[in-house]
C-alpha cells in the first residue's frame, strides 16, 4: 500500500514536471533566420539576419504589403556581442538552426575568418552544412534582400543559385564544414563561393521602363584565401577549371570550336565562328605530382564522358572519323582552359588552391616536411601537364546535324 502511494505521488509530481522540454521555445517566440550576413563596420562586427516573416502568407492572400522576410541587424565587438545586440532591437529570439547561408562582406573576409568566427562553430545551433559566400566588392547586407528569382525568400533564391552548380560548375558550393576541413590541411588553400551584385536590364511588359537598370545576383567565380584571409577572386571559367581539377564536376557544358578542317561551308559562312557544345555526364580527374631533376611536375588526367549538346558547323557526327575529331576538339579546349587557369593561378595568385600539395604530402611525406613552408613558391614554378580524354556516348535525338545534307 505504502509503495503504491509513493508511486501515485511520484506520478502526480511527474505529470506537472514533464509537460514539455525544459526551456522549450515555441514557434511564436522565435525568429527563424535563413541567411546571416557578417560585416565590418568601423572596428565592430555587424551581423544581419534574414528572418522569415510568419505573418506573410496570410496577409499576402489578404492583399497586405508585408514582405516574406524581415532584416534585423546587431553590432558588437564580437559576433556573439552582435548577436545579443539584436535582442535589443528585435522582439523575438533569433533561431539560427535553419540558417542555410552565411554571407561574409568583403571587408570581413579580408580581416581573416577563423579568429572572428569561433562562436559560429562553438554554438551548436548553427548547422555546419550552411553554405559560405563572400559578397564580392560589397557588404553582406547589400546583397541580402535582392531577389530576382521566383522564390519568395531571398535566402532561398541565393541557395538555389548555389545548388545550380550541379548544372554549371562556374561556381563553388562550399559549406562552412568544408571550409574548416580544408583550412587545417597542409598543401591546399581554401576557396569559398562568391555572390556578386550585377546590373540587369529591366524588361517591363508595359514597355514604359524598358532599359532601366535593376540589380540581380550571381554566384559566379570563387574567392581564394591565404590561411583565413581573402586575397583574390578567380573568374567563372577559372572556377570551372578548378572544379575539374578537384574532381567536383557533375554536369556541365563544354563549348569548343568545331574542328575547322572539316567545316565544309555548305550552308554557313566560313567567317562565322563555329562552336559546338558537349554536356558532361561524368568527369573523373586524377592528379599527380612527381619530383624530377628539373623540379616538381604537376599532372592531371581528365576523363570526360558526355553527350553532344549542339553542333554548329558542317561537321557530320554520323561519320566515325569526324566524330573522333569532335571528341578531340572538346578535349583540346578543356586542356587549354585548365592549363591556362593553373598557369594563371601560379603566376598571379601564387597559392595552391588545387590541392597538389596534398598529393605531394601523401606521396612524398618526408620531402613535404622539408618544403611545406615553401610549397606555394614551389607550386608557382612547377611544370604543369594535362591529358584530357573525351568520350561522347550520346548524340541526342539526332545524329547528322540538320545543316548537313
Amino acid at each position: 500500500m505504502k509503495r503504491k502511494l509513493i508511486c501515485l505521488a511520484l506520478s502526480f509530481v511527474l505529470i506537472f514536471s514533464l509537460t514539455a522540454c525544459w526551456n522549450a521555445r515555441e514557434l511564436n517566440t522565435v525568429g527563424i533566420s535563413l541567411a546571416m550576413g557578417l560585416d565590418i563596420e568601423g572596428d565592430k562586427i555587424l551581423v544581419t539576419f534574414e528572418i522569415v516573416n510568419p505573418s506573410y502568407t496570410q496577409k499576402n492572400h489578404g492583399g497586405g504589403d508585408v514582405g516574406p522576410v524581415k532584416y534585423v541587424q546587431g553590432i558588437g565587438n564580437t559576433i556573439f556581442e552582435a548577436f545579443r545586440d539584436v535582442s535589443l532591437k528585435f522582439d523575438r529570439r533569433i533561431l539560427i538552426s535553419h540558417n542555410k547561408l552565411i554571407i561574409l562582406g568583403e571587408d570581413f573576409a579580408r580581416r581573416g575568418l577563423i579568429n572572428q568566427t569561433d562562436q559560429l562553430f562553438r554554438n551548436r545551433e548553427l548547422r555546419e552544412t550552411a553554405y559560405m559566400l563572400i559578397a564580392k566588392g560589397a557588404k553582406a547586407y547589400e546583397v541580402m534582400g535582392i531577389n530576382n528569382g521566383l522564390e519568395d525568400l531571398p535566402g532561398n533564391y541565393i541557395l538555389n543559385l548555389i545548388r545550380n552548380k550541379r548544372d554549371n560548375p562556374k561556381t563553388v558550393d562550399v559549406r562552412i564544414m568544408n571550409y574548416l576541413r580544408d583550412y587545417y590541411l597542409e598543401g591546399i588553400h581554401t576557396v569559398a563561393g562568391v555572390v556578386e551584385m550585377i546590373d540587369r536590364t529591366q524588361i517591363d511588359e508595359t514597355g514604359k521602363d524598358m532599359g532601366t537598370k535593376d540589380k540581380e545576383l550571381t554566384v559566379i567565380g570563387a574567392a581564394v584565401f591565404k590561411d583565413d584571409i581573402l586575397v583574390a577572386y578567380i573568374s567563372g571559367n577559372d572556377t570551372k577549371a578548378l572544379n575539374y581539377i578537384k574532381n567536383d564536376v557533375k554536369k556541365g557544358l563544354i563549348t569548343f570550336p568545331t574542328p575547322k578542317d572539316i567545316v565544309r561551308n555548305r550552308k554557313s559562312n566560313l567567317e562565322d565562328k563555329h562552336l559546338s557544345s558537349v554536356l558532361t555526364i561524368k568527369v573523373k580527374t586524377k592528379n599527380d605530382v612527381e619530383i624530377k631533376d628539373e623540379g616538381i611536375s604537376l599532372k592531371s588526367k581528365v576523363k570526360i564522358r558526355g553527350t553532344i549538346g549542339e553542333v554548329i558547323g558542317d561537321i557530320d557526327v554520323y561519320n566515325e572519323e569526324e566524330f573522333k575529331l569532335l571528341e578531340e576538339a572538346c578535349s583540346n579546349t578543356v586542356k587549354e582552359a585548365i592549363k591556362h587557369t593553373v598557369e594563371k593561378v601560379q603566376r598571379e595568385i601564387g597559392l595552391d588552391i588545387f590541392g597538389f600539395g596534398l598529393i605531394f604530402q601523401r606521396k612524398y611525406p618526408d620531402e613535404f616536411k622539408k618544403i611545406k613552408d615553401n610549397w606555394d613558391e614551389i607550386f608557382s614554378h612547377a611544370d604543369y601537364q594535362i591529358e584530357v580524354e573525351t568520350n561522347l556516348i550520346r548524340t541526342g535525338l539526332i545524329d547528322t546535324p540538320i545543316n548537313v545534307d
Binding site: 526551456n23 555546419e128 552544412t129 545548388r163 564544414m177 574548416l180 576541413r181 587545417y184 601523401r362 611525406p365
Partner: protein, 375 residues
C-alpha cells in the same frame, strides 16, 4: 553479507555469454564514442585508426593479470579474490581502493554524460536536473539487478550498434578518403605505440569483466567473452574513427568535443532531409545510461562486499553521492573541454587497477601457493 545471501544474489543474477558480451561491448563503445579520445592521443593524425587496431593486443596483454585471477577463482569477483589472497585486512583495504575506482569512473562517466546532454540537448538545464534524470533511470535499472540490466542490454545494445553502422553508411557522401593518407607517413613507431598504450589504458572494462565473472552461467566463457568483446568493440570504434576522420579531417576532428555527433549533423539529403543527430542522440543516451547503470551496480556490489551488507541498499546512496560529485565538478569546470587533470588521474588509476595491483596480487598468490605446497 552471509554466504547464503551472497549465493542467492549470484544465482538470481546469472547472465549468459551473449549478454555479457553485449554489455562489455557497450561499455567500451560508449567510452570511445563519447569524445573519441583516440583523435587526441599520439600521433594525433590520420593514422590514429592504426593506433586503435594496435591497441587491441595491448588491451589483451594488459588484461592478462586480471584474466588470470578471474580464471583461477571464477566463482568470485575481483574484490572477493583479493580478500582471499591478500588476507582480510589488506584485502579490505584493496577492496576499498577498487570501490573508489568504480565510484570515480561512475562520477567521471556521469559528468561526461551531463556534458554531452548539456551540449547536445539541454543547454540551459541545470546540472542537477540533467544528472537527476539519468541517475533516477540508472537507479531503477541497477535496482532490478544484473540479470535485468543484461536483458535490457540484450534488446537495446544491438539496436545501438546497428544504428551506428547505419549512420556510417548514411554519411558516405561526405567521405574524403584522401584524409587518411599518407598512411604511416607522418607517424613514428614510437608515437603509434605510445598512443596504443595510452588508449588501451583508458579501456578499464577488464575490471568490470572480473566483477561479472561469478555471474556468468558458463565460467569457461570468460576468456572468449573478453577477447571477443575487445575485438568487436575496438573494430566498431575504428570504423567510427575512420568515418569521422574522412569526413571532418584529422585536424578539425580533434578540436571537436563530440566528433561523431558533428558527423551525424552533416548527414543530409538535399534539400531538406537532415537532423539525423536527433536519432543518434537517442541511441547515445540509451548506451550511456546502460553504462552508468552498470557502473552503479558494480560499485554497489563492491561496497556490499566490503561492508557485508546487501548491495541494493547502497544503490540509492551511491547515486546521491554521484549526483553531488557531478554537481560539484560540472559547476566548476568542463570535463571533456579541458585537457586537465582528469585525463592524467584516469590513466594513473587505470595503470594501478589493471596492472600494478593485479600483478602484486598474483605474486602474493604464487608465493602463498608455493609455501602451501612446501608446507
Amino acid at each position: 553479507m552471509s554466504n547464503v545471501n551472497e549465493r542467492i544474489i549470484k544465482e538470481r543474477n546469472k547472465i549468459y555469454y551473449n549478454q555479457t558480451l553485449l554489455l562489455l561491448i557497450n561499455f567500451r563503445v560508449m567510452l570511445g564514442l563519447n569524445n573519441l579520445p583516440i583523435l587526441r592521443v599520439p600521433p594525433a593524425n590520420q593514422d590514429v585508426w592504426i593506433v586503435l587496431l594496435l591497441s587491441i593486443p595491448y588491451i589483451l596483454i594488459f588484461s592478462l593479470p586480471l584474466l588470470f585471477l578471474s580464471n583461477k577463482f571464477n566463482n568470485f569477483n575481483l574484490i572477493e579474490i583479493i580478500e582471499k589472497i591478500m588476507g582480510r585486512i589488506l584485502g579490505k583495504i584493496v577492496g576499498i581502493y577498487y570501490f573508489l575506482v568504480f565510484l570515480y569512473y561512475l562520477v567521471i562517466f556521469s559528468s561526461t554524460f551531463v556534458e554531452i546532454l548539456d551540449n547536445a540537448l539541454f543547454r540551459e538545464t541545470p546540472t542537477w536536473a540533467t544528472a537527476s534524470l539519468f541517475l533516477i533511470t540508472s537507479i531503477h535499472i541497477a535496482h532490478k539487478g544484473l540479470r535485468n540490466l543484461a536483458r535490457l542490454g540484450e534488446v537495446l545494445i544491438p539496436l545501438i550498434l546497428v544504428s551506428l553502422f547505419v549512420f556510417v553508411i548514411l554519411g558516405y557522401d561526405n567521405y574524403q578518403f584522401a584524409n587518411l593518407f599518407p598512411i604511416l607517413g607522418n607517424s613514428t613507431f614510437k608515437d603509434i605505440n605510445r598512443g596504443a598504450i595510452d588508449i588501451s589504458l583508458r579501456f578499464v572494462d577488464a575490471i568490470i569483466a572480473t566483477m561479472l565473472t561469478p555471474y556468468l552461467v558458463n565460467k569457461k566463457d570468460l576468456n572468449k567473452v573478453y577477447i571477443r568483446s575487445t575485438i568487436y568493440s575496438l573494430l566498431t570504434i575504428t570504423l567510427i574513427t575512420i568515418t569521422t576522420l574522412t569526413t571532418l579531417g584529422p585536424e578539425f576532428a580533434k578540436r571537436i568535443n563530440f566528433p561523431f555527433l558533428t558527423y551525424t549533423r552533416l548527414i543530409n539529403f538535399q534539400p531538406a532531409i537532415q537532423g539525423f543527430e536527433s536519432v543518434y542522440i537517442v541511441f547515445w543516451i540509451i548506451g550511456n545510461i546502460i553504462r552508468i547503470a552498470g557502473y552503479l551496480y558494480i560499485s554497489s556490489v563492491s561496497l556490499g562486499q566490503i561492508t557485508g551488507i546487501r548491495n541494493d541498499r547502497f544503490i540509492l546512496p551511491l547515486a546521491i553521492l554521484t549526483l553531488i560529485a557531478v554537481q560539484l565538478i560540472k559547476d566548476t569546470r568542463p570535463v571533456l573541454g579541458l585537457r586537465g587533470p582528469f585525463n592524467q588521474i584516469t590513466l594513473i588509476i587505470s595503470f594501478m587497477s589493471i596492472l600494478v595491483i593485479p600483478i602484486i596480487v598474483i605474486i602474493v598468490y604464487l608465493f602463498r601457493r608455493k609455501f602451501k605446497e612446501r608446507g
